[in-house]
Symmetry: none
Subunit: 400 residues, 2 copies
């Protein structure tokens, strides 16, 4: 949506929007020919859907399987094919690192170099996370980068994240990972002056790491991918005039919420804590992004029955939300994660929108085949925020 037009239309009022994301919600039929959502016993969602409008959303574009970044950007109203987040930035968000506008981030892999300086294992034999932690500590103690700050964080196994922070840095830098064994690491080179400045700093870092880790075979070097400068996105306040808060347990989603200027509420350890957080902060914000992770991770495990159970738990959670009487309740996902595929997929995401002024359709059960017949039809996810705004009566008429 054109921001100039949108700015003319936005109304501020007290109507609340509760936007509930079940990560990887959509599935595929397995048992008895039914999907996870169709199998789950969801009396509360089914009751809510009878007074809701529902439909099927394409996060990016038909056929495109989105990662968590694009999936959430679409939910937050961006076109994820136009607004992209660099991989390094996503990795930094994923370890709960608070990026600033002076930061360039990259994903690192510990790797093995042979005697000729060629990569013999791009993942250093998948070292255990504990080894990774020790190596990062050793690097931090010995590698110095004059003129910039740097942050090195363990992710898991051979994976880590590197951020450098300084003035006038760019992120258009090629991967140093050669993608094949038998070749040396590639030299990091910048495409423009700011990126050349960063590339020199990164090359200095890699040279020192090589020296520091020379006796740490198999993890005697690092390879970098996905260099990216962090450019803060326009906030939910800027774009929609919404004071927004995120309730999420996992760092990636807390980071994605921070990326669009949401207040990230203290990390809740349980679903009960998520509910208490929503109640506690209910009067302080207009918009609540509530993120449930387990529907995705059970799907990625191929654990159909566990994904069903997680959906049933969230069904009970949603029933509580109705007692707060928000103007708009949305239940959707950032993408599908069918247990059948054990992976994210391109299938559209079943979605429900409740408000007093929605136009209910004839759907009475929350499921993929049910939502196919819903009043939202099949729509790009990026429009969902506009429907949320309209149903919260937060948009004026366009034109006379």
């Amino acid at each position: 949506m054109n921001q100039d037009i949108l700015n003319e239309l936005i109304v501020r009022n007290d109507n609340k929007i509760v936007f509930i994301v079940m990560d990887g919600l959509g599935g595929l039929p397995m048992k008895d020919g039914r999907t996870e959502l169709e199998t789950a016993n969801t009396p509360n969602l089914d009751k809510l859907i009878t007074k809701s409008v529902c439909g099927m959303l394409d996060p990016a574009s038909p056929g495109i399987t989105p990662g968590s970044g694009p999936g959430h950007l679409a939910l937050f109203g961006f076109d994820p094919l136009e607004t992209q987040i660099g991989r390094g930035v996503l990795s930094a968000l994923g370890v709960d690192f608070e990026l600033t506008g002076k930061d360039v981030a990259a994903r690192l892999n510990f790797c093995t170099l042979d005697g000729d300086g060629k990569v013999s294992d791009r993942r250093a034999g998948r070292i255990p996370t504990e080894t990774n932690l020790k190596l990062c500590e050793k690097i931090r103690a010995n590698v110095k980068l004059p003129g910039v700050e740097y942050f090195l964080m363990t992710e898991s196994e051979h994976r880590a994240v590197l951020v450098i922070r300084g003035e006038g840095l760019g992120g258009n830098i090629n991967d140093t990972d050669p993608q094949v064994t038998g070749a040396p690491p590639r030299k990091a080179e910048g495409e423009d002056p700011a990126s050349r400045k960063s590339a020199e700093i990164f090359e200095n870092f890699f040279a020192q790491v090589r020296e520091v880790l020379k006796d740490d075979h198999p993890a005697n070097m690092v390879l970098a991918r996905g260099f990216a400068k962090f450019d803060p996105l326009p906030t939910m306040e800027d774009r929609f005039g919404l004071r927004s808060a995120a309730i999420a347990q996992y760092p990636m989603y807390r980071g994605l919420a921070r990326l669009v200027g949401m207040s990230v509420l203290p990390k809740p350890d349980t679903y009960q804590a998520m509910w208490e957080s929503l109640q506690q902060h209910y009067n302080d914000y207009d918009f609540f992004f509530v993120h449930f992770k387990k529907t995705d991770s059970t799907g990625e495990d191929g654990n159909f029955d566990e994904k069903v159970k997680k959906i049933e738990e969230i069904d009970r959670w949603v029933a509580q939300v109705e007692s707060l009487n928000p103007e708009v309740i949305i239940i959707t996902g950032d993408h599908s994660t069918p247990s059948y595929l054990k992976n994210h997929s391109w299938h559209p995401v079943p979605t429900l929108l409740y408000s007093k002024q929605c136009r209910p359709d004839r759907v009475t059960t929350f499921g993929e085949r049910d939502c196919n017949a819903g009043g939202i039809g099949r729509m790009a996810t990026k429009h969902l925020m506009m429907l949320a705004m309209a149903n919260a009566l937060r948009l004026k008429k366009f034109g006379a």
Copy 2:
């Protein structure tokens, strides 16, 4: 639709398109959980829909509530977010004024200035329309603008429309309405040379009006908003090769039809007169835009039962049209106006398209929830003209 591609595809033939717009057609469930259209007894529309394809149309974009201008531009095949009509121009259309390419229009409010020249009432106590008419007459008799023509027209109560006509005028001028009381009127200033020329002329007008009305408290001044240069749009003939005529009772819709180059047929006072007009001119045009207003005004009044009755009257009207055997009949709206909201809304508009070569779906009743299941699905309104053209066999194959 890209005009260069379209130009290659257009075929001229004798197939007629009758495009019937029920203003504000879509509704929301109220009585017995049904909408106005679902409640109305529409035997003729229901019969027609069994051999039609139907669906739900978004006039501007999901969540956007369109005014009449954007709603009709979409019906005429424009993207209303890209092609916008200035407020002053719309107001001039609304009083049935025939604009030319030399015109700049603005909306005026009569207002009250206090002894210090500050606005004490932005609407001059909502003076009666008769007072407005007399004041406009007085201004016309006493205010002279050298070098340009001007036209001042009463709208209703404190509202009027001002048009100046001359060479090289622009319309990028700020509102003089300060939007608050206690401040003086703002000075009209142009953003570019042509608009500065207009702004000077308007300032001369306002200075003279202030002198002429000095004893007419509470209506002793005017405030202007929505200055806009009139730029004629490409016509229905230019874009679709259609000789087009409008049958409409209300000035705004006659004006919108004129804006896209339609012949506007003499104003019909009754639905019977609309039918006679259609018959009388049936052989002279390819495309007929027929506009029914009352479905919108009853909706804005929140009068569910009256809106139902108006739909039932139009149902009988449509039955007559079939006797003319047009190649294509379309029944739709420019936006929804649910009686529940007493206002235009963002909800998609139920739409029916009949032709001998449409692909009928399984829908057998014309209603919102029925159209959700239609073969058109949920689509942007701007594409409807292309479906009309295709179904009139007026488009060749694209590419070999």
